[in-house]
């Protein structure tokens, strides 16, 4: 048995993933994550001493560069077309400094 995640651990993970969870959801999530993590155990049991990792399924790829030629992109209007809030041609977000009271 691997060491189980506690509700406190899961709360920390949720904070890092920027997902708000109710206490009820937190309890269920803790159960679910522990049961999924248990099934991942085979990964920890292989002898992988001399095995290189494969981060990408196709070998022999290199970075693709294109000529530095101007091509049309989104207009400002298109780029903002799905923004929940906008102001003066920019994305609008709540204040990030000053405790949010301004």
């Amino acid at each position: 048995m691997t060491q189980q995640l506690t509700e406190r651990d899961v709360r920390d993970i949720a904070t890092y993933a920027r997902i708000g969870l109710t206490d009820e959801e937190l309890a269920q999530m803790t159960v679910d994550l522990n049961s999924i993590i248990e099934t991942l155990k085979p990964i920890t049991e292989f002898d992988l001493e001399s095995v290189d990792p494969t981060f990408h399924p196709i070998g022999g790829l290199s970075n693709v560069m294109r000529e530095d030629v101007e091509v049309p992109g989104f207009t400002q209007e298109q780029a903002l077309s799905n923004a929940p809030k906008q102001q003066d041609g920019s994305f609008l977000i709540p204040a990030i400094l000053g405790g949010g009271d301004q």
């Binding site: 890092y16 920027r18 997902i19 099934t39 155990k41 196709i58 693709v64 799905n82």
Partner: protein
């Protein structure tokens, strides 16, 4: 003969050229069927009538001008797209509340190529939320139903793409496959579903789930229709740096036969604990059918296949966690009102916008990538990927294509599998192909003797030798015939 929903790509082409019907009539008949029958299936999330009739007009004009032959391999064919594919002016929701109101400002390459090839775009198709699931039950807009039995799931995540083809509501659709999301629903709905080799089809404009695993591919009721779609969408795209220059002719591959071809069978798969007897029996018959068609059957081993599912449930969530970080409630997507600081706006928006399975995978990825845990799971999973890839390479020294079940069982009932771990096991025969980046496709091979539901056999090709699997698939189709529309939706039901 007037157009009807049973027609395949070649029938439609012949009918248009003979003047039996117009592309406009194809579009009209398609929307009529969708309006009469999709209430039961719920495959479509949005219809694109204006684009369809505009495309139909172009095709009819080409027929009148004698330029029809210059149109692509899907000219006049009713097509539709999984709702994680951007198509300018349509909603692209990924079946998530997070993107309920998102309108695509551009078009994915696979969508653009399908339309350039002459496809008549009918609309966008339901899926598991952000492609997280194997049943479409996680769609925020309600599940899609299996046309063979409306009490059963169509599979997933590309459930709408499979069900629409099985119900004869579209001829060819596109889906995406990260761990089995094209092949498993194709098997459950009794049709053909293709996950090409990683890099064969551009993913530009397809909402990313697991970027080292995702691939786009077609669904159809016949192997040759799927081949026509592959010929249309395959190829390099400067907008997707993982897409490759490939030269392939899938329609030609279908005519090559399997004489002398070596088909690999994996005893470990055929004796897997969860494999049902009815699926095993049908897949064994399919193996025999290929032998009788002239192929040589050889046994091959994939010793690390057991590790694939755990490697997948490490890599998939880690990549999903990273990809879904883009949903920040600022640039697009759902934004919770009334928050005075950005952090609480993020948390509240992502809490309300994502469903439970999406949250589980994001959280799992977040945990697995954290310091100390990364070394225990993520890095070893990438090493296991090397072992799985080497297994396939060794196996392909002995064979040209591997044959396996697509899914351990036929379609299950709604709510039958509630435990996420058990749901993940339905991908047991499909995930290793994504991990190794090979091509794989599911082809119908009859109905299960216990459930009476469709069974799919999976053909797995070496990287970039996807034509091999089309050769074997066409040989199977010569035995089993092309897939029918599900009986309750047979053409004629919408009063054609």
């Amino acid at each position: 003969m007037a157009y009807n929903a049973n027609m395949n790509v070649a029938d439609i082409r012949a009918g248009l050229l003979a003047g039996d019907f117009t592309a406009r009539e194809v579009a009209e008949a398609s929307f009529k069927r969708i309006e009469e029958l999709d209430g039961e299936v719920h495959a479509f999330l949005e219809l694109t009538k204006d684009a369809a009739f505009e495309q139909a007009a172009k095709i009819d004009e080409a027929l009148a001008n004698g330029t029809f032959d210059e149109m692509g391999p899907l000219a006049g064919v009713p097509v539709a797209f999984k709702d994680n594919m951007n198509y300018e002016g349509t909603h692209t929701t990924c079946s998530s509340l997070m993107l309920e109101n998102y309108v695509s400002p551009y078009t994915a390459t696979c969508v653009a190529k399908t339309i350039e090839a002459g496809g008549i775009p009918l609309g966008k198709l339901n899926m598991d939320e952000f492609a997280f699931g194997s049943s479409t039950e996680t769609s925020a807009f309600g599940p899609t139903k299996n046309p063979w039995d409306l009490e059963r799931v169509p599979g997933g995540s590309s459930g709408g793409s499979a069900a629409s083809v099985a119900a004869g509501l579209a001829c060819v659709t596109l889906g995406s496959d990260t761990g089995g999301s094209i092949r498993q629903p194709a098997a459950f709905c009794g049709i053909v579903g293709v996950k090409p080799t990683y890099g064969m089809v551009s993913r530009y404009g397809v909402v990313a789930f697991g970027s080292s695993l995702d691939q786009v591919g077609p669904f159809a009721r016949s192997v040759r229709d799927a081949a026509a779609a592959m010929d249309a969408i395959c190829g390099h795209d400067p907008m997707d740096c993982t897409s490759q220059y490939v030269k392939a002719d899938f329609r030609a591959a279908c005519e090559q036969g399997v004489e002398g071809m070596r088909i690999g069978v994996v005893p470990g798969f055929m004796n897997a604990p969860g494999l049902t007897d009815e699926v095993k029996a049908r897949v064994s018959e399919a193996t025999e059918a290929l032998r009788e068609a002239g192929a040589e059957i050889v046994e091959v081993e994939l010793p690390h296949a057991d590790a694939a599912i755990s490697a997948y449930y490490v890599l998939g969530p880690c990549e999903a966690f990273s990809n879904l970080a883009r949903f920040d409630s600022v640039r697009y997507g759902y934004c919770a009102e009334g928050h005075k600081d950005l952090g609480s706006q993020y948390e509240a928006s992502r809490a309300a916008g994502f469903g439970m399975e999406a949250k589980r995978r994001i959280m799992l990825g977040s945990y697995l990538l954290s310091s100390g845990v990364y070394e225990k799971y993520y890095y070893p999973a990438q090493q296991v990927r090397t072992l799985i890839t080497q297994d396939y390479q060794a196996a392909y020294e002995k064979c040209d294509v591997i044959l396996a079940p697509t899914s351990p069982r036929t379609a299950f009932k709604f709510g039958e599998i509630g435990d996420p771990v058990e749901m993940h096991l339905s991908d047991i025969f499909t995930v290793s192909i994504n991990i190794a980046g090979n091509g794989g496709m599911s082809v119908p091979c009859g109905l299960g003797s216990d459930t009476g539901l469709p069974v799919g056999v999976q053909l797995i090709a070496p990287q970039f030798k996807d034509e091999n699997m089309f050769r074997a698939a066409a040989a199977l189709e010569a035995v089993y015939g092309a897939a029918p529309i599900a009986p309750d939706f047979a053409a004629g039901k919408a009063g054609e």
